[in-house]
Symmetry: C2
Subunit: 446 residues, 2 copies
Amino acid sequence: MEHDLYGEGPLLIRDVRLESGTVDIFVDDSGTIAAVGDGVGRMARSEADRVIEGNGAIALPGFVNTHTHAAMTLFRGYAEDMPLQEWLSERIWPVEAHITPEDIYWGTKLACAEMIRAGTVAFSDMYFFMQDAARAVAEMGLCAVLSYGFIDLFSEEKREAECRNTEAFVRSIRNMGNPLIKPAVGPHAVYTVSREGLSWCAEYSARLGIGIHTHLCETEKEVRDAVAQWGKRPVQILDECGILTPRTVAAHCCWLDRDECALLARRGVHVAYNPVSNMKLATGRALPYHWLKEEGASVTLGTDGCASNNSLDLLTDMKFAALLQKFAWNSPTILPAGEALSMATSAGARALGFGNGTIAPGEPADIILIDSRAVCNTPEHSVTSNLVYSCSGSVVLTTICHGRVLMHNRVIPGEEEILREASRAARKLVERTAEERGPPHFPPDV
Amino acid sequence: MEHDLYGEGPLLIRDVRLESGTVDIFVDDSGTIAAVGDGVGRMARSEADRVIEGNGAIALPGFVNTHTHAAMTLFRGYAEDMPLQEWLSERIWPVEAHITPEDIYWGTKLACAEMIRAGTVAFSDMYFFMQDAARAVAEMGLCAVLSYGFIDLFSEEKREAECRNTEAFVRSIRNMGNPLIKPAVGPHAVYTVSREGLSWCAEYSARLGIGIHTHLCETEKEVRDAVAQWGKRPVQILDECGILTPRTVAAHCCWLDRDECALLARRGVHVAYNPVSNMKLATGRALPYHWLKEEGASVTLGTDGCASNNSLDLLTDMKFAALLQKFAWNSPTILPAGEALSMATSAGARALGFGNGTIAPGEPADIILIDSRAVCNTPEHSVTSNLVYSCSGSVVLTTICHGRVLMHNRVIPGEEEILREASRAARKLVERTAEERGPPHFPPDV
């Protein structure tokens, strides 16, 4: 039985704990939850090709990471604790200039392994060579919304090229015919994309009914520059270009004012809160969560890329999410644990269009099993509080995405090769960059 | 060989990586590092009763947690996201009123297991029933500085009792004759201890040459109230009473001004920075690390108790430490990864008087082994950055304290019983508290 666990067919998950008590979960051939309940195991046993014995593990909907740049795992730890401009121009841009499709493939596989390990089943990614990212995601079995980062730098020629790149990318994803991988358009931000570019993205995405992934109000400078240059704040610019829709994920949103929170709520935009990245890059202000909540906006959770996090562990980031709000807005009661968990499950799943992020019949079987006997879950006054404030991603035993078992008892098939090849790709990339730049000035520090 | 690993005798740790390269480490019968180097294994093999094969794991000095209340692990997740006064009076104080020495014993054992799992080898604890805490620590094999929380609430009668309690506690620890467990005096804070109480603690600790563990400038209210009531800020009060010494650990220090940072540096006080607790309880200001660093003060790292963290994982807290500084002081370059790691190793070890927190001949063998093949350590542009920004405590494979192996390949002997008994103690404690208070209003939320 164990041998076929990572394969196909109906799946029975026995003896796991939900809020409602101990249950069995039956997943049908299509990866959809068919039944959840006490007696399900006895009835479904004969139908199941695969059985997971939960042994009292806690079952949760898998986590959803609504903002990352997956392949940047290759840059994990490459450049730290530097001023933003120096970090970009001296370190990140030079290596990005040397990155190959093969690097993107291995970097994305590494990111997927890391996400699976920490219970993430779906993510929203923006980067380049995204066909190669898609190939990696498909092999790993995760759900993803992928977008090609559209950056025209206010040049008409570049804009035309970016439109064609976006169309080619979207076509290639649609041609894959993988229901777990969806394309989105990725207009990078108001300071890198012209109005015409933003409008094209909005119209194209509306025509195809696909998502939009963008950055918004990350820094005060972004807001100040927009006002100085165009007399308008970034939210107004995006809104005038049609970018703010219920299919849109807007990352960061640290510098929204109250009216902008209300507008995002009215437009149905999904905000991706990235607490770790915001702290690491010193954005100077935390997401105005209280306003967004009061206005009824959808708030989801993102890690951002590994160059500004440097991990893809949403359990750790839930703790950062809740604690940054308390510190920044001077309130120990803001963003309680349960809301942090919802951000990373139900809100995220709905934002990306992968079900409702709950364990119920008819939902996709995006389920993770949590070690209830770990130190971080002891004692058990509150499972939710333990998960958000005490545990990290290592408490995840099993990760299931649309019925496919991606990790069981902390084993991900093929992980060793991924670590080896991603390491090699990262090392070669840095060597190539160094050769062109003269003597290397970046010895690893240990 | 594996069978005796947790026992006594000279220990050889083979094939581990230090900054200087791959080495073997030989630990003598007394738990002291006798030799570190390339050929050590061949020479020492016959002398070693125990051998650990490192297989290329990264060796680090064990972590040191300079401020916690260990037994509060029993309250993990018991009360969250509440205003401070309500949290204390409605939730924490009622259960603390029912706590027994046996609870303290199991709570401290649970804390020790959690610390061992995350690579912590030494800690500074302040709570009550500390003889029972000491018994737990001794069994678990960690190094600790233990203090009885001295709180006289400005009553002469209570003060006399607290002096006697402190003396009895110190005597009992000294009678244990365990070189890994040291007593300290624990004057709680300026707002809970009279001047006479503070002065007594200072004189008593000086006479015996033992440490002092106190809270200082955690909240703005503490500073404001002190100025309103006594016309002096807390640092001046502690200094006048003789509390600020090179044997002193002062926890929190969020609201220090620049002159106070200079004074703490001159006095040789060790500051315990508690970033997670400060964020969770919304202290409103982060430690002024830049001033302390410029003045040359010793800054160490603490988790605080599980009721305000809720974990004892110093690797996660190093990330919080570095990122909170960047966010709060609006600088992406403040507190780089290497400084966060030093806080939790060398600075902490020196603060508590357990060696220098380095892996070198003559130092106590407080060594942890890190899984270099984990996702969080891939790729390896910087080991330090990966540890601080990417890994959590689960990356620790092996924890060795003064030559005693406390965990190997993530196995802690007896852990299952500790989890079971601590769970039981926590449940019973809540039940006892509920019985007295009428119908319970705290069903676990899952």
